[in-house]
Symmetry: C2
Subunit: 335 residues, 2 copies
């Protein structure tokens, strides 16, 4: 709700609303009541009023993420909050879960709390169905919306993304270049970013005529941190006779589970099985040999996003979409 | 700021404040101005007014944590937010960092946002110096304050803690009982919880007359997720001639680094070196053999904390301090 809405609903001018709130005596009793009624009804606050006039801001940014216990999202939040604080901004974070209704609720909550901008962390906020994304476009009529690793075309919505497609394409090509042909793709998300990764793998494999079996695409449905159950998924596949000498995982947790699978099957890494993970997270040092993984430059992305947001809040132009390249960091799990 | 403060500062009765906000005409022009001036000056909002009268709440809980990228804190936040949502509450989270001034700022921010209660996650919010904890007692005059894994005596402050002292004492005794005598303690925090853990280890070692060298207490100062640097810390110790056949770590990351150390030194686990971690986190499945670790029943703690908070908000009694026992979950890194 903006100052314009207040004046519209009360049927008075913006100047009159201002006079009432400033306690000016130059307003009739009846007009004053009208304005105060609207304010009470909509829980409009004087400070938000000031912000509507550009006089004052709360210097607070809202952050939304689906799940703060996800390693990648947790790290992104960490960088974003750090950089906001450096810029003199406070932040409030809403962990929404994966359900659309809760996302809408959190978005409304942040708007009610009069934040200066909202950052959506991760690609779980964008849906296939165009109409499901209306809540983002709606919020963007009130405050600038920044998307990290997701993209959407709407006024006042800005995207900073890692080029997951190219990163995955390059990693797959790199593995193929080492003479590895049966490369399994192990993934657990079909989000915006998840789809880009899968498409990158697919493109490389199809270009080389190697995507011969549907078994090479393995979707894992369980909990995102249940490593034993991920390992079990691969062992079941092995029992069914599916064989592969390369594995590319859509995140490091899946890759770590794959390293455990190889050990339990007495496969040598990387001679019998080469493994690449994604995110270059804390987990790359957790296995033996250490994990080759794609670094999607999360800190750079976050830095750019905050710099962009600060610019938008100062009235500067910011590109609607900014794309960064990832980088394959080679360690012991690949040739 | 409460409704009482408004009436006091304006020098009018609470009923008068109420009448002004409800747009009643039964108030003099001069009185109305006084009240509106105070409201404008302190950015007091009508909805907070309603809450002060118990008429309405924002149904929002503030959560503060030092660092959302810490595995343990991230998990706690995840459980807390989930359980709040089940109870129909929204939450806003502030990641404060470890600096006291930022913690105070975040606390004020949450109070300004009119939350119904505040949860402090982790033991980094309590300081040695009594006066440094005044910000918590002050906030508790406005809303109930819940501490997870920290304790403090002040009105309207409630603690739910895991018995870290006993968990660590029991784990150390268990290791000693297996005939292991040179047990190194590897830690990286001197928070409330960090001190309890250390004291538990100390008590067991001293009781058995085994704490013979200061070298057995190893404090790691680097980044909380830089596993290679933790491993290096132990290797330097080895180079200095320090030897041990047991290691108890204050968290799983340190324990994982210790497993890597053992491998690099060609020590057999658990025959040459037994290792126990703390938190029973995602990381226990990340090493080979899998990590023995202390489960501090985080989900139970969080459940109890939310149940207690809901009770306090409904005007029920809640114990000032509730203590849960941890449990040693044995896996491959111990005899």
């Amino acid at each position: 709700m903006t100052i314009y809405d207040i004046s519209e609903k009360a049927g008075v001018s913006i100047a009159t609303v201002s006079r009432v709130l400033n306690g000016s005596s130059n307003v009739s009793e009846k007009t004053k009541k009208k304005v105060l009624d609207v304010i009470n009804q909509y829980e409009y606050t004087p400070n938000a009023f000031a912000r509507g006039l550009g006089l004052n801001t709360m210097k607070t940014i809202g952050i939304m993420c689906a799940d703060s216990s996800d390693l990648y999202l947790a790290k992104a939040i960490y960088y974003i909050e750090q950089k906001l604080r450096t810029n003199g901004y406070d932040s409030i974070l809403c962990c929404t879960g994966y359900d659309l209704e809760n996302k809408k609720k959190s978005m409304n909550l942040l708007i009610t709390k009069k934040v200066d901008g909202i950052i959506l962390v991760g690609s779980n906020f964008i849906y296939e169905k165009e109409s499901d994304n209306k809540y983002i476009a709606d919020a963007a009529t009130q405050v600038p919306l920044m998307l990290l690793n997701a993209a959407m075309d709407a006024p006042n919505v800005y995207s900073v993304v890692s080029d997951d497609y190219t990163s995955m394409y390059d990693a797959t090509m790199d593995m193929i270049g080492k003479g590895i042909k049966d490369i399994l793709y192990f993934y657990n998300s079909t989000s915006y970013s998840g789809k880009k990764k899968l498409a990158g793998y697919r493109a490389a494999m199809e270009e080389k005529g190697l995507l011969k079996s549907g078994n090479l695409l393995q979707f894992y449905q369980g909990s995102h941190e249940d490593i034993p159950s991920m390992t079990k998924h691969l062992k079941k596949l092995h029992a069914k006779g599916v064989r592969f000498n390369g594995l590319i995982a859509a995140d490091d947790t899946l890759a770590l589970a794959s390293v455990k699978y190889a050990k339990e099957m007495n496969l040598r890494i990387p001679e019998d099985l080469s493994i690449i993970g994604y995110n270059n997270s804390l987990l790359v040092n957790c296995c033996d040999p250490e994990l080759t993984s794609i670094d999607n430059k999360l800190e750079t992305l976050c830095q750019h996003l905050i710099t962009g947001l600060m610019g938008v809040l100062s009235g500067n132009e910011m590109p609607k979409r900014t794309i960064f390249s990832g980088e394959l960091v080679k360690r012991g799990t690949t040739l």
